[in-house]
Amino acid sequence: MSLGTSATPLGRVRGLGASGEGGEHWLRERVTSVALLLLGSWLLASLLFLPDLTPATLTEWLRMPSGAVPMALFVITAFAHGRDGMKVVVDDYVHDAGNNFALNTLLLFAAVGGASFALFALAKIAFGDQA
């Protein structure tokens, strides 16, 4: 039996596009978008339903697992999705291979760096002394 009869239609064309890659990036952008639909709505609803937005209330909220865990997931997912989206814009407008690589590398550094600062701050709030 040849591969042609057993491979799925998707399997036969996978990797054969003009760029030879990108399917995973495309899918991840969509999976993170659904995650952010949930996490973003959670964040907005939480901020609206907290009794007030004083540092004490916010700290108490982010010290609880029900606050800190979704917030950590939101930070990671938002930076990942933001980076994936900006990469599409870079790839659309910057065609020179060297500039494209340089910009995408900068973008990756900025996203990972920013997410790390946000996660460090969140950890400090969650595990630090009570405000």
Partner: protein, 110 residues
């Protein structure tokens, strides 16, 4: 066309300005004291409020046009009338949601 461009612009704004504000807010809260006081000062200044209102609109617009893209990814909603209706709905929806949110927020603060 307009909604497609809006999706990119709002995505870029949310990534650059939105994530900067999110990180600044968390860092200020972690630091506490003066750091949080300067965040509050900026976020309650009229210019800061314009940024926050703009970001909430960008969030709703990107969320709704993102949902539209997910539907179109599944191969649906390409009929001219449906497509146009859905596109207009994202713009009207994001403006209504932003207005409702800030009427509630400012009403509660007053």
């Amino acid at each position: 066309m307009l909604v497609s461009i809006l999706h990119r612009v709002t995505g870029g704004a949310l990534t650059v300005a939105g994530l900067a504000v999110l990180t600044w807010w968390l860092m200020a809260l972690a630091e506490g004291g003066d750091a949080y006081a300067s965040f509050t000062k900026a976020s309650t200044h009229w210019a800061g409020m314009v940024v926050l209102i703009g970001l909430t609109w960008a969030f709703f617009q990107h969320l709704l046009s993102g949902l539209r893209h997910l539907v179109m990814d599944s191969g649906h909603g390409f009929e001219l009338r449906t497509n146009k209706l859905f596109a207009v709905a994202t713009v009207v929806g994001s403006l209504l949601l932003t207005a409702a949110l800030w009427v509630y927020v400012l009403g509660r603060a007053a």
